[in-house]
């Protein structure tokens, strides 16, 4: 176990954690506005497939990222139409979106199976020029990785330091009171879904265009659900979500470390670890008033008749 392999593990954790964090940040915004979107898995798949398809067609990965973002936002608008306009149940609508995503992404991605792309270009971390080439090469990241932490800070700022964020959280706590105090819950929920869908699109773009660099059916492998778990772990807070993303992606890294040092633990059990921590977090903070789930999470605002 030398320094180089440790750094390699860290580097791979950063690569796999980035898409998780983007997706989770999007879900933090939805859930703060009182919406549980279980359709994230479908949103991710459709965004990844369309972004990848455009990258193959145009040869420009940044155009692919843009299309991913648009696709994520559009699919979330469908979710918004069902839950916000038509007042449908959020869990059921989310699952319907998930199945829709399974199908639509297979349809979009089918012609592009096995195609190769120009991935998002990678840049060296500034200030690492003096390191050996091999070490430095582990820290060549693409633009989306460099932007993920700033994005988390921006989401935190938007939610907790702006009037818009205050209104959004008010809707998530009690849409009727927010409505009575002159805000429009329907508009705010749509805005939350729009921003959240765009962030999920960024996450999906990172999976398809920067990380895996190919398209296969169901390639997101449950990341949508991991993101929902991560939001619960971070207790609906964007900054804590950074820690959560590292925890959830580090389990892969830890496996490699343990294998290298000859300790034999089933990788499947290690994969369970973050979820068990999340359950413990839920139990530890459950029942206390400190940073609970948004009060009307999952409830549909029926409007005022």
């Amino acid at each position: 176990m030398n320094l180089l392999s440790l750094l390699g593990i860290l580097s791979s954790a950063i690569y796999s954690g980035t898409s998780l964090l983007y997706t989770a940040l999007g879900e933090v915004i939805h859930e703060r506005a009182g919406m549980v979107n279980l359709g994230l898995e479908g949103v991710l798949l459709v965004s990844a497939a369309s972004g990848f398809a455009i990258t193959v067609q145009s040869g420009n990965p940044y155009l692919g990222v843009l299309v991913s973002v648009i696709a994520g936002a559009l699919l979330n608008m469908v979710f918004g139409y069902l839950t916000v306009i038509r007042k449908a149940n959020q869990l059921a609508s989310g699952l319907a979106i998930m199945f829709f995503g399974f199908g639509l992404s297979a349809l979009i991605g089918n012609p592009y199976v096995g195609k190769s792309i120009h991935a998002l270009p990678r840049f060296e971390l500034p200030g690492l020029a003096h390191l050996p080439t091999l070490t430095a090469s582990l820290f060549r990241f693409d633009l989306l990785i460099f932007l993920v932490i700033p994005t988390a800070v921006i989401v935190w700022f938007l939610l907790f330091r702006t009037r818009w964020g205050l209104g959004l959280r008010a809707v998530g706590e009690n849409a009727n009171i927010a409505y009575a105090s002159g805000r429009n819950p329907l508009l705010i929920q749509f805005q939350a879904l729009l921003v959240g869908g765009m962030l999920a699109g960024l996450g999906a773009a990172h999976i398809a265009i920067a990380y895996a660099m190919n398209w296969t059916e169901y390639m997101t492998g449950g990341r949508g659900f991991i993101a929902v778990a991560l939001v619960i772990f971070s207790r609906w807070h964007p900054i804590r979500a950074i820690v959560g993303a590292l925890l959830f992606s580090a389990s892969v890294a830890v496996q490699l470390v343990l294998q290298n040092s000859g300790i034999n633990i089933s990788p499947f059990l290690l994969d369970c670890f973050p979820y068990i921590i999340t359950l413990l977090v839920l139990i530890a903070w459950g029942g206390t008033k400190k940073q609970q789930a948004p009060a009307s999470l999952g409830r549909v605002f029926q409007g005022t008749k």
Binding site: A106, I283, K305
Partner: protein, 351 residues
């Protein structure tokens, strides 16, 4: 356009309520078929021919129909696993995980008691499967009953853990000599018997019996009455001496047990072995089905038949038209969308 016509019909023609509901459902399903037809047309397939193939292959032959019933079996059970707790306002999103653990418990039984005759082994596996599912539901139920954490969140989280435990067991201990992601084939005594020449197992009979029992329970028993009281107003029910905590624990775990049974039925009746990641979202599908029909037993049967019809048709679409199998999910989702978008059925008020 169709929606406008619908509302006009609602106002001008007076139909008996049930006929109207039926027509309403049929219109919605037709609408989703038209939408999917447009998609098929865009990708260069002949929609009319595709639909003709789908229906002739599923409803047109005894074999096709039997395959629809085969794929209906697990979602009938998971639908019930969600419907039962929903009667006391508990949301079980965890049927997927409970199904996995049920299958694992039943598999342990099948591998351990190989030498028992079928009439002993099958009941043992059924009990083990139900026990596994119930255990997986116990934590969410307990945390809910003491008022600590919402059962929706915990049951959802546990969904992600269950397949990993199956992976651990199969890769680590149970895998066959040839393939590491599968157990060896179960002995004949551990297989749920199937009906003459088809792949329909006794699982569908068990499912229908349980649904009938559920209906009778809700309709005629004291428990059903008390569950209705809890569903109406839990606090009032508690004040009237109904043991709310016990009901939460028992009913939620019973839901888990039924989902676990679905896992046992799939492992024993359908695959005849346990493989990793074997469920294609049956637990989630059960949630959707139960929710769409408001937990009504007859509705669960009809809806799971319809969903299975769509899925079996998708299999054929792949063979004859060369499109990926999963695009049939689009047709399924479109059907769900048009049903979900109906405010009268989703019990919401319009603004």
């Amino acid at each position: 356009m169709i929606k406008q016509n619908d509302t006009i019909k609602n106002k001008t023609i007076i139909l008996p309520g049930e006929v109207y509901t039926l027509l309403h459902y049929l219109t919605m399903v037709a609408l989703s078929f038209v939408l999917f037809g447009i998609i098929l047309f865009i990708i260069g397939k002949d929609p009319i021919q595709s639909y003709r193939d789908i229906f002739s292959s599923t409803l047109g032959s005894a074999y096709g129909l039997s395959e629809v019933i085969v794929s209906m079996t697990p979602i009938l059970l998971t639908g019930l696993a969600v419907a039962l707790p929903s009667r006391i306002m508990l949301i079980n999103v965890g049927a997927e995980g409970q199904l996995y653990i049920g299958a694992a418990f039943a598999t342990w039984g099948a591998l351990t008691f190989q030498n028992l005759p079928a009439w002993m082994l099958i009941p043992i596996m059924i009990v083990l499967g139900m026990l596994g599912g119930a255990l997986w539901a116990l934590l969410p139920a307990y945390l809910k009953s003491i008022g600590l954490v919402n059962e929706t969140i915990t049951s959802l989280l546990l969904n992600s853990v269950a397949p990993k435990i199956i992976g651990f067991l199969v890769f680590g201990f149970w895998h066959s000599a040839m393939e590491t992601n599968k157990t060896p084939r179960f002995v004949e005594a551990a297989r749920l018997p199937t009906f003459l020449g088809t792949r329909i197992s006794w699982g569908i009979v068990i499912g229908l019996v349980l649904l009938t029992a559920f209906w009778l329970l809700m309709q005629y028993s004291r428990w059903g009455l008390e569950m209705k009281a809890i569903g109406g107003n839990p606090q009032a029910a508690l004040r009237n001496g109904i043991p709310l905590k016990t009901y939460i624990l028992v009913v939620f775990c019973a839901g888990g047990a039924i989902a676990g049974l679905a896992g046992m039925v799939q492992a024993s009746g359908y695959y005849g072995l346990l493989l990793t990641n074997f469920s294609i979202g049956w637990g989630f599908m059960g949630f959707l089905i139960s929710w769409l029909v408001g937990g009504d037993p007859l509705g669960i049967i009809i809806m799971s038949f319809l969903v299975s019809l769509i899925f079996s048709g998708g299999n054929l679409l792949q063979i004859t038209s060369g499109v990926p199998y999963s695009i049939i999910n689009i047709l399924l989702a479109l059907t769900l969308f048009v049903v979900l978008a109906q405010p009268t059925l989703s019990r919401g008020k319009r603004t």
